[in-house]
Symmetry: D2
Subunit: 302 residues, 4 copies
C-alpha cells in the first residue's frame, strides 16, 4: 500500500530514510533548510519542497509529516511552523532522538489541537535508515496502523515494534542507547587490556573471531573488525568520545527511578573525561597527597 509522506530534514539519517521510503514505492515530498540537499533529493526522484508551506500544500489531507531534525528546539520550531498549515487528523512523526519528556509535552499540546502524533526511535545508523531500519514506535493504535504499511517497508523484518502509548518509542530508544554506551565501554576496556598485555595480538582477527560464534557476537563486533581493518592499531584516532544526549538522559532517568546504573553512568563519565586535557579533581588529589605525604606533584609547564 503506497502512502504519501512529507519528510522534513535531509541530513544523513533523514535523506537515507527518504530514499528508503521512495525505493518502496511511496511518494515522498522532501524539505530541507538548505536548498542544495533538496535538489539532490529531486535528482533521486523525491518531490522537492522549498518551504514548509510548499511541502504541506503538496500533500493531500490527512497528511503524514515525518520530522528528521535535530532533537531539542528544532523539533519545537518545526512543529510550531506546521500547526497553522495543517489540519486535524494530520499526523506529525518525530523520528529523531528526542527526549521522551519533550515528546510527552508535544503530544499533549498537539492532542488538544486534534493533530495526531507519533514518536519513532530509530536505530541501525545511517546504514539502517537506508537499507532496513529498526524502529520503536510510540503512538495511539489507530495512528500506528495508518502508518504501519510504510514502517514495515522501511524496516528490517521484525525490525519495528509498537512499544505502546506516545513517548514510549523515544523512551525505549533512549534505553537502547544507554545499553549501547555500556556495551561500547566494555568493549573499549577489553581491547585496552589486550593492548597493554604481554601478548602481541591481532585485534582485527580477534574482533572477527569474536563475531563468529562467541557469546558477544553482534553488530558492534562486526564494526569493530571493520574499524581495525582500516587502522589496525587505531593509530590515527584520538580517544576523544562525544555523546549526543541519550546516554545522559538514560542516567538521569535511572536517577529519578532509583535504578543503580553503575556501568551506564561510568560509560558516560569516561566519555566526559576523554574530552578533558586535565582535571581539577586530579589537581585536588595531587595537592592533598603532597600535603600529607610529601608526594611529588607534577608541575605544569609555564
Amino acid at each position: 500500500m503506497a502512502l504519501e509522506i512529507g519528510l522534513i530534514g535531509l541530513g544523513k539519517m533523514g535523506y537515507s530514510l527518504a530514499q528508503n521510503i521512495k525505493d518502496h514505492g511511496h511518494r515522498v515530498v522532501a524539505y530541507n533548510r538548505s536548498a542544495e540537499k533538496i535538489q539532490e533529493a529531486e535528482s533521486y526522484g523525491l518531490i522537492g519542497a522549498y518551504s514548509i508551506a510548499e511541502l504541506v500544500s503538496k500533500l493531500a489531507a490527512p497528511r503524514i509529516i515525518w520530522l528528521m531534525v535535530p532533537a531539542g528546539s528544532p523539533v519545537d520550531e518545526m512543529i510550531e511552523s506546521l500547526i497553522p498549515l495543517i489540519n486535524q487528523e494530520d499526523i506529525i512523526i518525530d523520528g529523531g532522538n528526542s527526549n521522551y519528556k519533550d515528546t510527552l509535552r508535544r503530544y499533549e499540546m498537539l492532542r488538544e489541537k486534534g493533530i495526531r502524533f507519533m514518536d519513532v526511535g530509530t536505530s541501525g545508523g545511517v546504514e539502517g535508515a537506508r537499507n532496513g531500519a529498526c524502529m520503536m514506535i510510540g503512538a495511539e493504535k489507530d495512528v500506528f496502523e495508518r502508518i504501519e504499511p510504510l514502517i514495515k517497508d522501511v524496516c528490517l523484518e521484525n525490525g519495528y515494534v509498537h512499544t505502546g502509548k506516545n513517548g514510549s518509542g523515544h523512551y525505549v530508544k533512549m534505553i537502547h542507547n544507554g545499553i549501547e554506551y555500556g556495551m561500547l565501554q566494555a568493549i573499549g576496556e577489553g581491547f585496552e587490556i589486550l593492548e597493554k598485555s604481554q601478548f602481541e595480538l591481532n585485534y582485527k582477527e580477534i574482533a572477527k573471531v569474536w563475531n563468529h560464534g562467541s557469546v558477544i557476537r553482534g553488530w558492534l563486533m562486526e564494526l569493530m573488525e571493520r574499524a581495525f581493518e582500516k587502522d589496525p592499531q587505531l593509530q590515527s584516532i584520538k580517544g576523544v568520545v562525544h555523546s549526543s544526549g541519550e546516554g545522559l538522559w538514560t542516567v538521569q532517568e535511572a536517577l529519578e527511578l532509583q535504578v543503580p546504573v553503575h556501568t551506564i553512568a561510568s560509560s558516560l563519565f569516561v566519555r566526559y573525561r576523554s574530552q578533558q586535557e586535565d582535571t581539577f579533581s586530579g589537581k585536588v588529589i595531587a595537592a592533598l597527597r603532597n600535603e600529607f605525604g610529601g608526594h611529588r606533584v607534577e608541575k605544569k609547564d609555564k
Copy 2:
C-alpha cells in the same frame, strides 16, 4: 583430514564438543570420571575409556589429548596423571577456562619434558560446542597446524583464530568474558529502567526489535528474547548472579596493567552484591547517618 583425539571430561561442554568432533568424522576416545557418562558417549559412537591409561593406550602416538575439565587443580591433576603415560611430541590441549597464568606455567613445565601444549579458549556456550564453536588458540605454530583441520571442523566458519604464543588463547578468552560481563550488566541496567518506567512495555517484543537492525543487536539480545518468551517478567527467577572466574581475572589483570575498567569491575561488584542478603557497608553507613543526622535506622527483626 580425519584425526584421532582423546577427550577427557564429558561435562556439558566436553560432551557437546566430543559429539561435534565425532560428527565430523574424527575418532574420539573419551574418558570421564563417572562411568555413566562414558556409556552415554559410547552409545553415541565415541570410544569409551574407563581410565586415563586406557585412553592413552587407545591412541596412537603422537597423541592429541583434549582436556575439558574444570579450571584450576583438576587441570593440574590431569596433566600430572598424563605425563608418565605419554610421549614427547604428544599434544595436550586445555580447552577449559583456565587462568592464563596457570597456562603459562603449565606450558613451561611441559615444554621441558618435550610435551606440546595448546590452550583453547572456547566461546559460544553449549550450543556452540555442539554445533559450531568459537575458539581462541594459543600455541606454537607447528602444534596449531597439526590440529587445525579438526579445529576448523568443529568451529563456525571464521570461528577460530590462532591468537599467538601459548597463553594467548586463554588470555583472549578471558577478555572476551570480561567484555561479556560488562555487556550483560548494561543490558540488565537497561531493562531494569524499563521495568520501573511509567510505560507498560513488552520486554520480549523489545528484545526482539533490538535484535533486528539496532546497534546493539547480537546473540545476547537473541537470548534475551528467548528468556522473556519463557518468562515474560522473569517472575520465577531470583536476581542472584554467580561468576566463574574470568570476570575476576579480567579485573585483576586490568589492575596489574593499570587499565581503568570501570564497567567490567562494576559488573563484577554487582554480581557479588547480588549474592548478599545484607551488607556490612550498608550497616556502617546507616549507623553513621544515624549518628550525625538522627536519620532513622532500620532494625533487624529479632
Copy 3:
C-alpha cells in the same frame, strides 16, 4: 549585637537552632505547624507564635524570618504565606536543604517584590545546630552583613562563610553532601573488607585509632567509633540506606556540567540498591547466563 528573629519550623534541626540563637541573647519568635512544639519552645524561653500572622506581627520591621522547613513545596508554601504579611526589605532566610535551582527561582521572585533573601546551607547535624553549626551562606552583601552577628554567634569559630551571590550557599552545601556520600561509602567499603577478612578485629578500636593521628581522621571516624561502641558488630542494624536529595542533586549537577563523578554516583547507586530486595537487572543477567551457558538459575520460592 542582639537581633530579633522569627523562626519557622521546630523540627530536630530547627528547634536546636532556635535554642542556640536564644542562648546567645537574641530574641526568637518561633512558629511550628503543631502547637505542642511551640509550647515546648515557650518553656525554653522562646516567644511562641501560633500562626504565621502572629509571628510576623511579633517582629518589628525590617524583619528577619528564618525558615527551617523541609525542602521542596513546604518552602514555596511558606514563602507564599509570608509575602502578603511582610514588607520590603524584610529578609527571608531558607536554612533548609533546598535545591539551589529552587533557591535561584525564589530569589528572583522575591527580588521583584523588594523582599530580601538569603540561602543558608547548614551542616554539622543536630549537634551542630544546637552547639555550633557550620553555615554556607548565599546572599547579597548587605543582607549578609545585617545578619552576620547572629550567624557568628550560632556557628563554630570559622564555621561560616559568605560563599557569594544567592544560590551559592545551598550549592556549596549540596556539594558538601555529595562529598559526604562518597566518604561514607568509602568508609563502608573499608569496614566491609575488614569484616570479611581473615583477621579478628575490634572495629571500635580501629575507628578510634584512625581518628587519632591518621590521614582519614575526622568527625565521621569519631562517629564511627561511637556507633561501634553502641553495637560492636552492628548486628541490630539493617544495611538499608536512604537519601534525602542532595546526593542525587550533586550527581544531576555533575551530569549537566559533564564532571565525571564515579565515586559520588556509585555511592548513590549503592544506596538505591540497599533498598531493593531483589533486582530486575540481576534477573536479566541470571536468565541470560542460563540461556548461553546453562548456568543454574536460583528460583523464587512460591
Copy 4:
C-alpha cells in the same frame, strides 16, 4: 621506660620517626644506605651506624630493630641481612607499607628461626611520624607489650592499637589507605563540580568552613585549605596522581573476598587514567561510533 632501638632507613618517614623516638628519651642507633643521612642523624643526637653489622653490634640483646625501608624486596633483603647477625627473641619491626601477605610470609619464616616480628602500619604522614603518629600493630601479645612503652611515646594519645595477630597491622593500614583513596576522590569530584559551576567561589574559604563544624570535617579538609592557600586555583599543578600500592592491594583483597568496592576501585582507576595522555578504549569507542553513526573522529596530529 627508656628503650634502645635500631632504626634502619632514614627517608622522610624513617628520619622523622627516629627523631620522634629520640625526643622521648629512647636510645636510637640509626643506619641508612647513604652515609650523608647518618651524619645528619648523628648531628641530631642519634647514634650512627655505617653498616648493618655495626648497628646490630651497638644494640644489646634482646634487640629491637625497626625497618623503615620501602615495601617489597628491600624489606626481604634487609631481613636476610639481619638474620645471621641477630639472636633468638630479637624483634624485627616492619614499619613500612608492606603488603600483608608478605608480612604473613616473613612472620612464618622468622618464627621458625625464633626471631620475633611485629608489623606496624603507620599513618599521619611525615608530620605524624615526627610529632605524633598513628600506628596499627600486628604482633603476638608479649612482643607488643615489650615495645608498647616506646609506641606510646611516639604516637598521639589514643593513636595506636594492637590490632591482633601478625599481619593485621599492615592489613588495617592497607584498608585505611583504601578508604583514603575513596575519600580523596570524593573530595576531588566535589571541588571539580564547584570549579565548573556557575558560581564564583573561593575554594580556600570553602575548605576552611567545611573543616569547622561540617560533617566532612577532618584532616584532609584541613590540608585542602592549606593547599588552596598556597595556590588558590591549583593552577601550577598537573592533575596526575600516582599511587603507592595500598589502594591496589585493597581492591585486590576486596576482589578475593567478593566485597563490592565501587568507590575505592573507581578511585584507583581514575588515578590510572590521570597518568595516560590518551586511551585505547577511547579510540575503540570513537572508531565504533564512527562506523555505526558516522560520528566524526578526532584525528591525531601528525
